[in-house]
Symmetry: C2
Subunit: 94 residues, 2 copies
């Protein structure tokens, strides 16, 4: 039985993917702007759609399309803007 | 609010991804063997994990790993075997 994770009133949902190689999830975000906190390092790969990601370090928004990835360090915050439904793979840890 | 699709007692779940370019879902399958019916043509791409897919036409099982895709015609059945949690993108129609 797969447990569904739900955030932002159900506008972001994800499904866990159990793996020998660390924890992973796949999820979908509906259009909106969201801020997330990380505990571990997260590597996010766009499956379909597009992310705009705000990197506080560079004070810059960057776009990521299908197949591209970005990394978010542990214990940090990141903001994303979504203009169309976007599916992603998130891999936790190193 | 994203509606979760659930099959086989929750061992397969998927999330819709609304798109101008036709209907898509991302989902996860837990280990097991499953048979699906298609109404439309389906193009399935492995996001992480592995599918064994049975093609009745060739009486053969074939393996598909991350990044690889297979197509299932409309109005047909297909069987998959999953040995580890596997995430996929499914695109409906042509």
């Amino acid at each position: 039985m797969i447990e569904v994770n739900e955030y932002f009133d159900g506008k972001v949902k994800s499904l866990p993917v159990k793996s020998d190689k660390g924890r992973k999830t796949v999820g979908v975000m509906e259009p909106g702007e969201y801020e997330f906190d990380t505990q571990e390092k997260e590597t996010v790969t766009v499956v379909t759609g597009e992310f705009s990601v705000y990197f506080a370090e560079y004070d810059e928004w960057e776009e990521f399309g299908p197949g591209s990835s970005f990394e978010i360090p542990a214990n940090s915050k990141f903001k994303v803007k979504i203009a169309q439904d976007t599916a992603y793979l998130c891999e936790y840890g190193d």
